[in-house]
Symmetry: D3
Subunit: 246 residues, 6 copies
Amino acid sequence: MTDIIRADGRAVHELRPITIERGWSAHAEGSALISFGGTKVLCTASFTNGVPRWLTGKGKGWVTAEYAMLPRATNSRNDRESVKGKIGGRTHEISRLIGRALRAVVDTKALGENTIVIDCDVLQADGGTRTAAITGAYVALADAIEWGRAKKFIGQKATPLIDSVAAVSVGIIDGEPMLDLAYVEDVRAETDMNVVVTGRGLFVEVQGTAEGAPFDKRELDALLELGVAGCADLRDLQAASLAAGE
Amino acid sequence: MTDIIRADGRAVHELRPITIERGWSAHAEGSALISFGGTKVLCTASFTNGVPRWLTGKGKGWVTAEYAMLPRATNSRNDRESVKGKIGGRTHEISRLIGRALRAVVDTKALGENTIVIDCDVLQADGGTRTAAITGAYVALADAIEWGRAKKFIGQKATPLIDSVAAVSVGIIDGEPMLDLAYVEDVRAETDMNVVVTGRGLFVEVQGTAEGAPFDKRELDALLELGVAGCADLRDLQAASLAAGE
Amino acid sequence: MTDIIRADGRAVHELRPITIERGWSAHAEGSALISFGGTKVLCTASFTNGVPRWLTGKGKGWVTAEYAMLPRATNSRNDRESVKGKIGGRTHEISRLIGRALRAVVDTKALGENTIVIDCDVLQADGGTRTAAITGAYVALADAIEWGRAKKFIGQKATPLIDSVAAVSVGIIDGEPMLDLAYVEDVRAETDMNVVVTGRGLFVEVQGTAEGAPFDKRELDALLELGVAGCADLRDLQAASLAAGE
Amino acid sequence: MTDIIRADGRAVHELRPITIERGWSAHAEGSALISFGGTKVLCTASFTNGVPRWLTGKGKGWVTAEYAMLPRATNSRNDRESVKGKIGGRTHEISRLIGRALRAVVDTKALGENTIVIDCDVLQADGGTRTAAITGAYVALADAIEWGRAKKFIGQKATPLIDSVAAVSVGIIDGEPMLDLAYVEDVRAETDMNVVVTGRGLFVEVQGTAEGAPFDKRELDALLELGVAGCADLRDLQAASLAAGE
Amino acid sequence: MTDIIRADGRAVHELRPITIERGWSAHAEGSALISFGGTKVLCTASFTNGVPRWLTGKGKGWVTAEYAMLPRATNSRNDRESVKGKIGGRTHEISRLIGRALRAVVDTKALGENTIVIDCDVLQADGGTRTAAITGAYVALADAIEWGRAKKFIGQKATPLIDSVAAVSVGIIDGEPMLDLAYVEDVRAETDMNVVVTGRGLFVEVQGTAEGAPFDKRELDALLELGVAGCADLRDLQAASLAAGE
Amino acid sequence: MTDIIRADGRAVHELRPITIERGWSAHAEGSALISFGGTKVLCTASFTNGVPRWLTGKGKGWVTAEYAMLPRATNSRNDRESVKGKIGGRTHEISRLIGRALRAVVDTKALGENTIVIDCDVLQADGGTRTAAITGAYVALADAIEWGRAKKFIGQKATPLIDSVAAVSVGIIDGEPMLDLAYVEDVRAETDMNVVVTGRGLFVEVQGTAEGAPFDKRELDALLELGVAGCADLRDLQAASLAAGE
């Protein structure tokens, strides 16, 4: 680590200010409005007793996720995907990533034949929307599971959540590995990586892409180290949020 | 008016608590997060210099609106219209209503060849989302116009806004006309009406529908009277919000 | 009322020539080709024993409507919505309006578990297509219900139709309220209103829109009065058509 | 030919009663409501000065066609293709056939840079809708071309129509070749053929399909002979219709 | 027949070199990669026990087909229909033709309640893709039926295939009828015809289109004669391929 | 590395038999039919002089890719995305990955204002289709660039390809890291990773996903090492293919 100070005054290994407004939604069984600096994502978890037809009778539950952005979440307005009549590749890709990340910490047998749909809607974007979404979605998911337990859809002794999960972006800018890129940093990054890490510090997903020049093993290792440390901080913030009385 | 007290303690002619968080969005040229009780709508106004091709060269601007709901804004989750690949009739209808309401108070000649797109996204729904959207959209629109003036896209002496506009729902429940229906009231209403009224107290739009029994002229008049009074209250709240320094 | 004479020679409170060709379709259980001057709408009612899945077992029937225009019903050709792959907002809005108008006079319990789908296809348009559609649809609906009774899908003593329903457009042109606007009048109207009225003279739907300047209560009242009188005339024409032997 | 009498009393080589209401539409540049017995198709021709971008500057015009059915044109209701959001294979196929048939008798150079779009909407179906559509479309096309000539979009000496064109269905039922099948005959036909023939008696299109057993050359020849004779009768009816003053 | 020699050295009544790689696919129950000169079509037959819901319980099977082209099968690249979000008219039309051709030689009662879906994907196109597809599809179909018999989904004594079927294109170029047109010939043809003929020499489908001038009976007869002879050659090649051990 | 022998007899660090049929397509400017064992992908590169509008005048070229599977490429048939009317998330994700991988080795300035579209169509799937697609696409791309140079669309001294690129899948099965997973291995893998590596051995993309239990840094390192070695072997095969005369 060096003494580089970033545009917003952070050190290279520092997260932006993180806030989690747990229980933001009056309707959803679990919800969190999470902010990573200027990035704000509303995560809701909708609990339904029962599973899709293709899973019926297998004694297992289902967790899935959908990601979207409001049209003016970004600096210039994007057309709505509902108006265009189709979902773009980026939206699809992120929705699938969030779903995989959450399922990695869920024991679907313990969940029983229940379905939880997580919606992550980006209200305002400033880089790292997918990783903020995963981090907030975990909080919404945890509350939805507790709701299901209180309603007796989930057994009192079942432990559907086998670990927690958080995610953060890391990248190399001007040769320097940095944690939690804001939008102005993201567009300048030579290499961009998203890491999804469990509360115990294991990898669920590693996605690194050379935006400029290809990268070597040493750079990869530096990024992973930053990402794992950042996810440990996020894990603690998630835990604090979930520990607070409502 | 009678002494009937509603579920939430309001008198029949009372609005729910209204809040307007003006300038909620860091990116949009104008924005407002408006609440009518549990109904929360994020309104953003996106200003673009220039107009759609079909309007080019006529010396006039364009104002349009799109309305949508987050999937879990409501009590049970609705599938996303982007996933279904088409926009439902209700969404279309409300988007068109908001656009007409706003255009009724805009002098498009004074606006010049500029386009303002208003997005009204319902984050949480508890009845009256379309009327809250119109009321909040006006605030976002006013700020976007001031932004355009500051950027010199609009002439310094031009007055694109010729009046203000607000909207509220009214309905008859158990024979009693009531203002600003919450969701539990809306589903029980025999007659449901949305009125869109300018700051000067003139009608822009009156949409009354018999949900149960058809209604007579006397009932219609009672509803209109309530609606006009409610819109006058909303006009004052809009003005106060716009008068506040940022 | 004044002595103003309109382009087609009508007085301000006069309907255009109305014709109803009842039973136009050889296949449909009820049908009517209705003309309001140059506006011609083919209305068919398709009766099916049984209801959509979501209504099954509730002992109630279902009435719904779809509106569309042939591509060259209008002065210049419009692309087909089937070719564009999506239904426009205007089409959606009018289909929903027709369905609500008809359901307002149907006792779905008395209809029993039967479904009636009304199709209103505009063959030629000259203003007021949605109100002509509602007026003609009522005739098709009445015949489809009699067909269902003859086939014993509806009880011999049941009265699914609790009233008749008709609709007409009214508007203010050059400050003058007028009934049943033709297209050339419609485009000039400052205020445009559609009223849907039952045979007993009660309102089912009132939709008034300021196309130009907003309107006041006095103008609204004048329009409603014209509309109610026009609908009474239409009710008599519907009754005469239904009374005629086939 | 044998003495077989068909359900509707026709001889095997007889057309159903044919009517052509030329100029049915008040708006279209050419139009005809054509009936082949119970089959009724509204054909409109929309003339536009200019051609699609891909044809610009080649000194040639363009003629294209779209075919569709009203939802209750048939014995039981079909869902609208606009509601389904896509056009079915049958609709596509028939639209393409009509376009090819008409283009076969048009000299696009003589037409000049003008576009004619033919819409054939089946109001009521009783077999042979595509052949009725072609036959009626020719009449609408001829009038649209005269309109274009009167408006000077087409040269006074140009002859864009190099021949007339008509079409009819033929089929084999119980081993017997028959002309112009009604729906009840069509569903029983072992072999079904549509022939499109010019006024001079040449083939533009021959489409024969074995619905039941495959057919041999002798049967094919018998069908072609019937079809050519039927098209000659239709040609005379088209000519009579076009010769009548309006 | 004349002594005309074509660009590729063939006589007018000669097929291009035909190859059939039977069993090309490791997964499909029947498959063939068929080449007609430079035209290469991969045909797979997918066998499923059971039928679509609308056919259930009737003791009959179902055979259907889908045709498509890879984007760069042709000389210049075509956009994918999946990307465009809809299937073009030509694709629909050819898929329907292939399905009809195959069903003409299948006894669906003998097939039992089984479904066979044939996919014909054009890997490289050089004219005659639809006729190559039908010819190859028959081979894939025959193998899939044998697979079904081996798996006991089809009775040991049942004969679902009542004949074979092949197809070829014929056309008139410079007044000369020719067999099996390559792409450079197809674009020059005045008349273009596809004939689908059973192994016994009967017609299943005859589709002739005047691309330039309309054609007369004599030309039609010459084309049919060429096509029938070509299909007889293809039938022998199909039989030889199916007779070879795997 | 251990002495484990896999189902197909390979050692854990061994690739499946790789074949590259360069120049498979008669039409495309570059093409390769690549096989990784039973996985067969047809890669075509379509060269167009000029760039999309949004890139015009910047002196830079564009490379993009589309991936798709034939419906029966897999063990059971999948519905076509063209028939479903939309592209699935997986297809989108892989298309984007291939495009990024290729652009990482292209100097778009040296390419000049030219566009190359790569189509990767999976004819038969047995695991690792996306990595086979990238590896084959590079060969097609290299030939398309040489075509562009021969046609003088690219400068004779320009070097648009700054490196080669290949990709391979790696995974952990029963705790053992393995190279180039076949389908039966892929479904059993606890961790699944795709690595995209340049000819010089640098990473372009690393995508690792825990399908079962999350993975630690040691496992990640073992997978990366295997992947880098596998890509070096693929690079040599690509080079040999490109070195061969046509």
